[in-house]
Symmetry: C2
DNA sequence: CCTACCGATCGGTAGG
DNA sequence: CCTACCGATCGGTAGG
């Protein structure tokens, strides 16, 4: 009879993925070695391979966890009956909070996805392109409704998403401003820049 | 008697630095090998070392070329007698144009500087911090003059500088918008977001 | 500018 | 989970 202990060693793999996120953020995916990772987990490098298939798999897990999170969120926002400008603010606040609370994973999915290997690389790029298009549609609805300034929607998406990634610098510096203040400041500047 | 051809092989090194910028942008500093670089220049890897000292030196040259360029520009802007909001627009337009025309170098100096080694790494970080502080001072002057919305100046700097780096995505995509249109769109959104 | 080559380190496997 | 180890590749040097 099999033991009650089922096959799931999920918790062990989770520890490795979390450690990988911290390491990839700190050193960059290419510069981070599996020996670094093993040391931070507290095992020998070879032992990692009982829980994961490859270094790439770790990057893949991190990037798609983040992509799916934002994907699910925008799906909920789209079906709400809020006005476009409100939807935009909801999306933006979610981005800001994720960048504050979950920033290692988000950072990696923003900056290091290009080291993904090719079936996954294309999937990731498609998902990303799709997300931005849906984001732009909401802005275009706001323009059509006369709530948002008449600007190129995809330029606005570019600006807004990259602006949020600036929170990385906030994390690096000893921040004199709290996360809440940062969020309100960002919302003010970005939403006012778009509003008519 | 020495030939007229003086010792300056500056042009040869320039070719290597340019090729390195293209390669570091395409693959990332760590993932780009000196053999890749040699191939793109058309020589064997060992031959590169007659013109450069190390891989790090290439990164160093690229990062400080860019940092010095922005440094000189902000120095000129500071001494002009324009109003703060106009200074801000001048700075922003310079950032946007550099990101459009000179984007490989600027991208590397934005994203890959962390692979610099330590005497240079600290210098670079200091220069960067100093630049952002001077940028923030201009915003604060605009707030004091009542031209600019009352927001945290360093958050505004963060947003604005990172927003501009979004032009990287514009380069990657087959752009439907011209550089000029992109510039005007960015200026509209960002300056309106700051204006009172 | 090239050939030849170095020591270090990489991701990953075999076998227990 | 460990020891032992692999082939590949890295940045860089010697010597001409």
């Amino acid at each position: 009879m099999a033991r009650i202990r089922t096959g799931k060693d999920g918790s062990r793999k989770d520890v490795i993925v979390k450690a990988a996120a911290a390491l990839f953020h700190e050193k960059g995916y290419k510069a981070a070695s599996m020996r670094d990772l093993a040391e931070s987990v507290g095992v020998e490098a070879a032992s990692l391979y009982n829980h994961i298939r490859s270094k790439t798999e770790l990057l893949h897990d991190i990037c798609f966890n983040v992509a799916n999170l934002f994907w699910e969120h925008i799906s909920k926002v789209e079906t709400s009956d809020a006005k476009p400008i409100e939807k935009l603010e909801t999306l933006l606040r979610f981005h800001i909070r994720q960048m504050i609370e979950n920033f290692q994973e988000v950072y990696i999915s923003d900056r290091e996805w290009r080291y993904l290997a090719d079936p996954y690389l294309s999937n990731f790029q498609n998902q990303r392109r799709n997300y931005r298009k849906r984001f732009a549609v909401i802005i275009e609805q706001g323009i059509a409704d006369g709530e948002i300034n008449k600007i190129d929607a995809s330029t606005a998406v570019l600006i807004v998403l990259h602006a949020v990634s600036g929170i990385e610098s906030w994390h690096r510096s000893k921040h004199k401003i709290s996360g809440e203040e940062l969020e309100e400041n960002m919302i003010t500047i970005l939403i006012d820049g778009l509003k008519k």
